[in-house]
């Protein structure tokens, strides 16, 4: 039980570090030294010291959307197992709650974006909800496959059982990786560093946030990255240590390894065309479906 408390604390503290690792890996591939590992922390502290400017068309929805962006993933951490370390709160159906908590955060973020009344944010919101609709299907099917494979309906139970490296876990790992890339606006789906509003998806929804709101949003997206990395690494690197402390360390290593993997993917791949994104996500759902049928029929 303490291990899961420690995992949550570590996650809250070291989530932005993941983004630092990704940037350093991309810099390394670009032959540059890159920004310091703690750069995300410096940005957040800089933003915390700023005042706030709100658009004149915005209402209370805009103000609570940034709060939700941070509070949502923080709440999800309670449900998140790290490898064989069980989550703080684990019960039948926590995987469904996780998916729908993410949906709740996305709902508020999208409404916040539409509140500003700008065409860019509207476009971002429209793309965001379309991709979310498809990725949710893939996510659910992948969870179904994992539940079928592990024979339990709670995330911690699943991650405890999934110790072998069979075909189902490979397919679910790929699906989880695609989901990680699409939910956290990494390169193949969406470029976090672009400045051209028309090409953005997630970034453009936060165009009008500044100061503390922007800091909360960045912190939230870091936590979300941690959540997806934990989900992915639990399946991709099934390491069964002797004691829970060893599992905790292994889990952390897995998370940072996922960050490195993401960095490698980001620097080697270019963005996929906007029209072909739905096909990629439906590929993910098909993959999850085959994993499920494999589990049922074989």
């Amino acid at each position: 039980m303490i291990q899961s408390m420690v995992h949550v604390l570590l996650a809250l503290i070291s989530a932005p570090l993941l983004q630092g690792v990704i940037n350093r890996v991309k810099a390394f591939f670009g032959g540059r030294r890159g920004q310091p590992l703690l750069q995300p922390y410096f940005d957040m502290i800089r933003l915390l010291r700023k005042g706030a400017v709100y658009g004149n068309t915005t209402t209370w929805i805009f103000r609570i959307s940034s709060l939700a962006a941070a509070a949502g993933p923080a709440a999800i951490l309670a449900l998140l197992p790290l490898g064989r370390v069980p989550a703080m709160l684990s019960f039948n159906g926590d995987m469904i709650v996780l998916v729908y908590m993410l949906a709740a955060v996305r709902f508020l973020m999208v409404l916040g974006a539409m509140d500003t009344g700008s065409s860019f944010e509207g476009m971002g919101a429209s793309r965001e909800v379309l991709l979310a609709a498809l990725s949710e299907v893939a996510f659910m099917l992948c969870l179904a496959a994992l539940a079928a494979a592990a024979g339990s309906f709670s995330l911690s139970g699943v991650y405890r059982e999934m110790d072998t490296f069979g075909p189902v876990s490979v397919m679910s790992a790929t699906v989880l990786l695609i989901l990680l890339l699409s939910e956290n606006c990494r390169i193949p789906v969406d470029d976090p560093r672009t400045h051209l509003e028309l090409t953005m998806i997630h970034e453009v929804m936060v165009l009008d946030h500044c100061g503390i709101d922007l800091c909360l949003i960045q912190y939230g997206s870091a936590l979300k990255l941690w959540v997806f990395s934990a989900l992915f690494s639990g399946i991709c690197f099934p390491f069964a240590g002797r004691s829970l402390w060893a599992d905790l360390l292994a889990g952390l290593a897995g998370v940072f390894a996922t960050a490195v993997v993401t960095g490698v993917i980001e620097s080697t791949m270019a963005r996929i065309r906007m029209k072909r994104l739905p096909e990629m996500l439906s590929l993910a759902s098909v993959l999850a479906l085959t994993a499920f049928l494999w589990e049922i029929l074989v």
Partner: protein, 650 residues
């Protein structure tokens, strides 16, 4: 005690209906009588139903009704009580809302009569759910249809309202024809012995008849065409009642018929498949069409089709679980479906009442002409926000609990090691629910964002003002119920009729309530942190970022159709999307217009061609009545000869 309450509620509706139809009522008296008698009747019926549900058992009342095969016998057992609660609650609140909404047309004859029909509708709905005699059920069923027909054609000056009324009347009448057969089976309409019907024919045929008959009223896909036409045409508080609870009488009817078909374990497997299939198709088709609509009430009507699809998926999971012997799956499926029936009637009526206030305040139902109403209609906006969040199924609110139980039922088929049928049907249920959930997110962010957020797109949207108190209070009550439904579901789940709850469920629902409370708590914490940090600093307002464009106008905002167009283009196969671009002049066009519209592909490809061919066919036949006298006598001679030769075998 319960009988008295039930009869009191029916009495109040009857008396109120009679009172409202009196010609000498002046001014605002009629809406007041109508509204508050609806509230009183609703309260009485609600109390009766809760009493029955809480202390189990049933309450019967029957008296002689001088009609062959008929007896005025009401029976409020668990299932009926469960369905009376949403009916009485929503009708009461809609009545109160109506007093404010129909205030300005109170004294016109049409206004007064609409209250008579409203009370008749409420009374007949309660009678339908409580009836335990075939004839009483049928009479109440059709009175419900006729009274809602008159309400739908309230504003009959407009041509499409008349057409909607006709489509509605014929669709429900054809549905009733099938239900008629159910009750006409020999040995049917057993009076007083509780079960409405003993099927004398094969159970499969009986089930199909019940499915199609009651499916028409529940708005399941091939039979749903009337729903998006009729509900927008009615006044808002009526469409709230129709969409919120009237389509539930279809689900109630189906469940009541299923109880007559013996225990679920013996049901054949294909029943479950039919239910899940129709539910999945309805859910996806309903929400996809909702994406493309511009009329706010038509969006909500299509989303009712979607939610009915979800209820049918839940029932399908229940039936598949029962017939493959998976007890957990069947109990969870039924619990999820029934809970979703409750939740849907609450948040759907909330959304329709909100839509009514928006339409009344901004003078239009077209969401492309509204915008930025949250600033001017804060309270309605808050209620609508809660409703939209609930309908998408987000955790703290009640939409999530129903869907969660259905998910759990489907997953229990998947992770347990039971047969092929259960797991594949579970998979189908999960995919349908997930995709419908995602699309619902698109639909309702689009609706709420376009109507309430951003800047107003037309001048009377800019001048909109908050609604009257009597319209706002029912919405607030419903919003609070949404929240309560989400957080206190574990208390209620024990009382669901016909559901043997597995031990862990209430405890899991309690955990979910806890986790979902973490989100608002976290937001409060972050908000407090932000407030402290910002206390010393300057918070100013400025224009939204427009890439430096100096004259940002409201036309620059993302419109509703552009918001949903990518999704519609992706699912073009399922819906008949029409994109018409018109430009005058070949090479130097000075004007270009793009119009994107969505036609109901079932109406457009199935029913209209059917009616056209019937019309042509009857044209071909009506040549027979050509007016020539001699040929008429020839028909007579021909018939005579044919009969003589055929019968006498000459």
């Amino acid at each position: 005690m319960i009988q008295i309450l039930l009869l009191a509620s029916l009495g109040i509706t009857a008396l109120g209906a009679a009172a409202c139809s009196m010609p000498f009522l002046k001014g605002r008296v009629a809406p007041l009588i109508g509204g508050y008698s609806a509230a009183a009747a609703g309260g009485a019926a609600l109390l009766a139903a809760i009493l029955v549900l809480v202390n189990g058992g049933q309450a019967c009342f029957s008296s002689v009704w001088q009609l062959p095969f008929a007896s005025f016998s009401l029976k409020l057992d668990q299932l009926s009580a469960f369905f009376v609660i949403p009916v009485s609650l929503v009708c009461g609140l809609a009545g109160i809302y109506g007093t404010g909404y129909m205030a300005d047309e109170g004294n016109s004859t049409g206004g007064r009569l609409s209250w008579t029909w409203f009370l008749l509708l409420m009374g007949s709905m309660i009678t339908v759910i409580a009836a335990s005699n075939g004839i009483l059920f049928l009479v109440a069923w059709e009175t419900m249809t006729v009274s809602s027909f008159f309400l739908v054609t309230r504003y009959h000056e407009k041509g499409e309202v008349r057409r909607a009324g006709w489509i509605y009347l014929t669709a429900s009448h054809i549905g009733t024809a099938l239900i008629l057969v159910l009750f006409a089976f020999p040995g049917a309409a057993a009076t007083g012995s509780g079960t409405l019907v003993h099927p004398a024919c094969s159970h499969g045929l009986f089930f199909l008849l019940a499915l199609v008959g009651f499916g028409t009223k529940a708005g399941i896909v091939p039979l749903h065409v009337w729903l998006p036409q009729a509900h927008p045409a009615a006044p808002s508080h009526v469409s709230a009642v129709m969409s919120g609870v009237m389509i539930k009488t279809g689900v109630y009817g189906l469940l009541r018929m299923l109880t007559c078909l013996g225990s679920p374990e013996q049901w054949p497997i294909w029943w479950g498949w039919v239910m899940i299939g129709s539910g999945a198709v309805s859910a996806l088709y309903g929400i996809l069409n909702a994406l493309g609509q511009r009329d706010i009430k038509r969006i909500l009507a299509y989303s009712s089709v979607e939610n009915m699809g979800i209820v049918f998926i839940g029932l399908g999971v229940w039936m598949t679980g029962a017939s493959t012997g998976n007890a957990l799956m069947s109990s969870l499926g039924l619990a999820g479906a029934l809970l979703h029936v409750w939740n849907h009637s609450i948040f759907k009526s909330l959304l329709f009442l909100g839509a009514g206030s928006v339409a009344k305040a901004s003078g239009t139902r077209d969401i492309e002409l509204t915008g930025g109403l949250l600033g001017r209609m804060g309270r309605t906006g808050l209620a609508f926000f809660t409703g939209s969040a609930a309908i998408i199924g987000l955790p703290p609110l009640n939409g999530f609990t129903g869907e969660f139980l259905i998910y759990w039922g489907a997953f229990s088929a998947v992770y347990g090691d039971n047969g092929f049928h259960a797991s594949v049907s579970g998979l189908l249920a999960i995919t349908a629910l997930a995709l419908a959930g995602g699309l619902a997110m698109i639909c309702f962010t689009r609706l709420f964002g376009t109507v309430f957020l951003g800047s107003p797109r037309s001048e009377n949207a800019g001048k909109a003002c908050e609604t009257v108190g009597s319209m706002y209070i029912p919405m607030m009550i419903l919003a609070v119920l949404c929240l309560a439904g989400g957080l206190l579901a574990h208390l209620v789940v024990g009382f669901l009729p016909g559901v043997s709850i597995a031990s862990g469920t209430p405890e899991v629902l309690g955990r979910i309530a806890l986790v979902s409370l973490a989100l608002p708590a976290g937001m409060l914490l972050a908000g407090a942190l932000r407030k402290i940090l910002l206390s010393g600093r300057s918070t100013t307002t400025s224009d939204t970022w427009g890439c430096g464009y100096i004259l940002p106008g409201s036309r620059m905002q993302y419109t509703a159709s552009s918001f949903s167009l990518p999704a519609l283009l992706l699912f073009r196969g399922f819906v008949s999307l029409r994109l018409t671009t018109r430009s005058n002049g070949e090479y130097f066009p000075n004007g270009l217009s793009l119009k994107s519209g969505l036609r109901d592909s079932f109406m457009h490809r199935l029913y209209e061609p059917l009616f056209r061919s019937l019309h042509r066919l009857s044209g071909w036949f009506s040549g027979m009545q050509h007016g020539r006298n001699q040929l008429y006598v020839l028909y007579m001679a021909a018939v005579l000869l044919i009969l003589l030769l055929w019968e006498l075998g000459v």
